[in-house]
Every structure is written in structure tokens, then in C-alpha cells.
């Protein structure tokens, strides 16, 4: 009996590891890109995409696992970015020390936003996070010299790792890939932990979860704080990459784009944020669209994905592949599809 249980657990760990594998392979391939001497433009695009993906992994824990949608995620990224810039300016704090500090700042901000917003609950949460995002942008704009007002702040600190200067594009790229990998692994670990199961229980049926003794409120705030940590780290990377940050980068419209990316990619799967971030960053390049056209395409994609593929693009592809390649999983996927549609 006990033996069986252990085997079962080993089996589930193996299964969980197998779900991580495709992401690791893709990331390894992405890390090998500099070998083909890509253009600087490609590298910059890839770096911004990677920085977004880190924030998206946080958002996927919140939206994909817990089922709460935040329209203020860019604000959390902004708190991280401003924390890094202000720490560097006033206290001479460097990149590596800024990382935990900014993550903490974003987490605290997430808690400050989360406690009243989640108390209000349900439909209102989305609007509350949106309002907090707008408020933050207004506060940053009116913050005078301390926040650099509408022009924002400059940040010119070098990023060094073991004495090597990481500011070079290729090195920064590799560093961002490493961060994306840790974000993916962290989010995978959350999904496959009992904590992740708790969050999913809340997503599926909040009242039932509460009746099982799960402290729904605390876990929701916890998930929001966790997503804030991801966002804070992404903010530091963004601030050091761009060298200049301004309030408009973190208002509510960038938040909409983050939500759009995670939903186009699919919030519940580990590949989703990676796919969404890369797709949205490179689609204009591939299709040769100007920014206005590409935004129209994103909007249409989002509507199409929501109406046709509730699991996101990757979820849809996976389902289609499963259905195409074998008979038995086909039935299973159809059942899953039906269950999905009912929800």
C-alpha cells in the first residue's frame, strides 16, 4: 500500500518533470541563438520579450492558476523598476542588491493593492487593479524630482557578474534567458506543489475550497504577492536594460498588453507565457507590420483566442496535435474540451 503510494508519487513527479522539459529545451535553443550572430535589433527585441515573459510567468500564477485577472500588472513592474532606479540614485545600490529589494517593494505594493481589492472581490477586483495602476502612474507623474515627473528617471549603473560587464547586448541577452528559465522553473514548481493545487481549487470553486478549510482570501492575496515578486524582478531588468523609465510605461494600457500576451499564449500551461511574450514581440517583425497595425492584429488575436481557443494558442495547438496523432487521447481531449466549455 505504502509502496504503491510512493511509486505513485514518484510517477507524478516524473510526469511533472516531463511537463517542464519542452520549456527547458526551447529555452536552451533560445540561449544558443547568439552563436548565429543575430543583429542587435533582434537581440533588443528578444531581451524586451524575455523581460515581459518573466512578468507573464507571475501573471500566469495569478490568472492561470488562481483565476484572478489583474489589470495592474504593469504597475507592479513599474514599482520594481522605480525601486531599482531610486535605490541606485540615492543609495548607490547596484543591480544584484536591487533585485531582492525591488522584488520586496513590488510584493509589498501588491499586498497593499491586493488586500482592499480582494476584499471587494469578484468583478470589482479587475477594476480596482486597473484604478491602482492609473493612480500609480498619476503619482509617479506628480512626484516631482523624486520620481522625475513625466520624463521619468535615468539609470546608468553597469551590471556586472563575477567581475564581467554584462551590459553588452549578447551578455545581457543570456542573462535575461537565465532569468526567464528561473521564472519558468519557479512557476512550474508552484504549479506542481500543493500550494498550486490549493490555488487551482480556489479557481475551480471558491466556495467549495473555503468549505474545505482553505483560507481563500489569504491565498488570493498570496498569489497576487507572488505575481508581484516576478513583476518586481522583471522591472529591475527592464530599468537596467532601457537605462530610462517613465510613468507611461507602467500605466494601465501596458497592463492590458501584458494580460493580452498571457491570454494569447495560454495562462494555464507552462509554455503559455513564453509563447505569448515571444509571439507578441516578434509578430510585427515577421509580418512586417507597423506598430498601429500590429496592435490591431493583437486585439483581433485576443478576441479570436478567447472565442475559439479558451486554453490559449499553445493549449489549442497541443489539443489539435493530440487529437491528430492518437485515437484514445482524442476522446479524452474532447471530454476535456466539453468540460472546458461548460465552465
Amino acid at each position: 500500500m505504502k509502496e504503491g503510494l510512493r511509486q505513485d508519487r514518484a510517477g507524478s513527479v516524473f510526469k511533472a518533470l516531463r511537463s517542464l522539459l519542452p520549456v527547458l529545451v526551447i529555452l536552451a535553443l533560445i540561449a544558443a541563438v547568439p552563436l548565429f550572430s543575430p543583429s542587435n535589433r533582434f537581440l533588443s527585441l528578444a531581451i524586451s520579450a524575455g523581460i515581459n515573459v518573466i512578468a507573464l510567468y507571475g501573471l500566469s500564477v495569478l490568472f492561470g492558476q488562481t483565476g484572478i485577472l489583474s489589470m495592474g500588472h504593469a504597475a507592479l513592474v513599474g514599482v520594481g523598476a522605480y525601486a531599482a532606479a531610486i535605490l541606485a540614485r540615492d543609495f548607490g545600490v547596484g543591480f544584484w542588491a536591487a533585485l531582492p529589494a525591488a522584488a520586496l517593494a513590488s510584493a509589498v505594493f501588491a499586498m497593499i493593492v491586493g488586500i482592499p481589492s480582494l476584499r471587494v472581490g469578484g468583478h470589482h477586483f479587475v477594476i480596482m487593479t486597473f484604478a491602482f495602476g492609473q493612480l500609480l502612474a498619476i503619482v509617479l507623474t506628480n512626484g516631482g524630482d523624486y520620481t522625475g515627473a513625466a520624463t521619468g528617471l535615468d539609470l546608468a549603473g553597469p551590471v556586472t557578474l563575477f567581475g564581467a560587464d554584462m551590459s553588452d547586448l549578447t551578455r545581457y541577452y543570456l542573462m535575461v534567458v537565465a532569468f526567464v528559465t528561473s521564472a519558468a522553473v519557479a512557476s512550474w514548481a508552484i504549479i506542481n506543489s500543493s500550494y498550486g493545487r490549493t490555488l487551482r481549487a480556489i479557481r475551480e470553486n471558491e466556495k467549495l475550497a473555503a468549505s474545505l478549510g482553505i483560507n481563500v482570501g489569504r491565498h488570493k492575496i498570496g498569489a497576487f504577492v507572488v505575481s508581484g515578486i516576478f513583476a518586481g524582478i522583471s522591472g529591475v531588468l527592464l530599468a537596467y536594460f532601457l537605462g530610462h523609465i517613465s510613468p507611461s510605461q507602467f500605466s494601465s494600457f501596458p497592463s492590458i498588453y501584458l494580460a493580452l500576451m498571457v491570454m494569447i499564449g495560454g495562462a494555464r500551461l507552462i509554455e503559455g507565457p513564453l509563447a505569448g511574450g515571444i509571439l507578441v514581440a516578434f509578430l510585427p517583425e515577421v509580418l512586417n507590420l507597423d506598430p498601429v497595425q500590429s496592435r490591431i492584429v493583437y486585439g483581433v488575436c485576443l478576441i479570436a483566442v478567447i472565442m475559439l481557443l479558451p486554453d490559449g494558442l499553445i493549449g489549442g495547438i497541443v489539443r489539435a496535435l493530440r487529437a491528430a496523432f492518437s485515437g484514445k487521447p482524442k476522446q479524452e481531449t474532447q471530454q476535456r474540451g466539453a468540460a472546458e466549455a461548460q465552465r
Binding site: P116, V120, H124, A131, S252, I296, L302, I306, M307
Partner: protein
Amino acid sequence: MRAVDIFIQQILNGLSIASVITLIAIGVTLIFGLTGIINFAHGEFLMIGGIVTWLAVSAGLGFPLAVVLAILAVGLMGYILERGLFRFTLERPTNGFIVSLGLIVVLQHVVVLFWNPNQKSIPRPLTTVWEVGGVRIASVRVMVIAITIAVVALSFRMITASRYGRALRASVEDRDTAALMGIPVRRYITGVFVLGSALAGLGGALLIALFPITPFTGGTMVMKGFAVALIGGLGNIYGAVAAGLILGIVEGFSAGYGFSQWTDAYSFALMILVLIVRPHGLFGGTSGPRMAS
């Protein structure tokens, strides 16, 4: 100017902005009350209304005709979007909300694509400025307030006194029971989308009579509309009107007494505060239609 003159003038300015916000808030609150869909794209409906007005006036049409065109065009847009998209999200209102996010992005950038992102303005339809005992009153603001009062009064009358209004209120209260009583709820949902969109179109036409607008005006305006709808209690039309008045006056004063850079912050801060103290708004609202979840 005497202090009391400034005071009266700011109330007037505040009320004219509040008029536009109230027009959005009514649509937002009705659509949410009936379908549970948080339609963020409602602000873009308003923006489109402004753009249609701008196009019509630029083409040489008079302002009154332009307003009618804006109302018709946005009402039709609401009809098409409800039939084509939102109808399919009624079972899962969250999806409706996400669809509205996509619509924001699409509508904004379609406008940018065809008519560039710059500010657009029309010559003021009424240029008279009355001077009453030292207070300068711009007639265009009075016009905006008067039209809004008339339209809101008409909507109230429709909703409180007619049998259609009673059916609508019954559907907001309890969709399933209303359907069992033979009320064609689906048709009412379409109707509310069209009505809400038409009001947003009117709001856009009135807004461009007051200020220049850009393709991105909708974002801030819809947030204020939601702030008003939430402060008043979602689904509660009376609440929306009352909260619109409160917000307009607060904004008017803040602009008149030297805190204008914080003007936009008040609506959000007020909304957050009200929701923390009274999650269902000052005047009580619904938390959306009861879903079989």
C-alpha cells in the same frame, strides 16, 4: 473675480464633465447589471462618437445633425458587437470582459490608422458667453448639461414608468425568473447594449463640443464611468447619476483650486475608498446576474 464667482463657475465646469461621465456610467451600469459583463470598451464607444461628430462637422454638417449621426453610428456599432461577439460570452462574463479589452486595442488603433493619433476638435457649436453678475457662463456647457438632463430624465421615465422599463428592471434583478415570466431577456440584452452605446455616442459628441479629443480619450473616460458606476453601485442607475454629480463637483473644485494635476486621481481614489467601506457602492447595487456557476 470674487470667490463666490469662481465657486459657481467651477460647479458649472464640473457639472458639464459630470454629464459626459454620467452618460457613460448609465450604459456601463445597465450592461453590467443585465449581463455581468464589464465592458471596458465602452469608453472607446464614446471616443468613436466624438470621432463621428468630428468627421460630420468637418464635412460641413451642422452640430445637431452630427450628434444624431454619432448616436446612430455608435448605437449600430453596439448592436453589431453584441450580436457578433458579446452574445457568445453571456455564459462566462469574464470572457466578455477580455473581449472588451481586445476591442479597446482594436478600436483605438483603427481610428489611429485612418485618422492619425493627433488631437481632434470642432469649433464650439455655441460661442455665446453669458455674464451674470460677474460669472462668465459658457453657453456650450449649459447646452451639454441641459441635453444630459433631458436624456437622463427620458431614460428614467422609460425605465420607471413604461412596461419595458419594468421588464428591464425585473431582468436586472433576476434574469432567470424574468425569463420564466415570459420576458424576452436576450432581446433586452441587445436593447441595453444598443441604448448604452447610443448614450456613449451622445457623450462623445458632447465631449468633443467641450474639449479636443484623441483616439486615446476613451481609456480615462471609461475608468471614470466605472468609478461612477461603482461608487453608485453597479446596476443602480440612480446611484450612477448621483455619483456622477458628486464626482463632477469634486473634479470641478480640484481644477479650480489649483490641484488640477491630481484631477484624474480623485475619481480613482474616491472609488477605491468607497469600495473599501461599502463594497456595493454608496447606494447599493447588484453583484451581477446570478450565474449557475
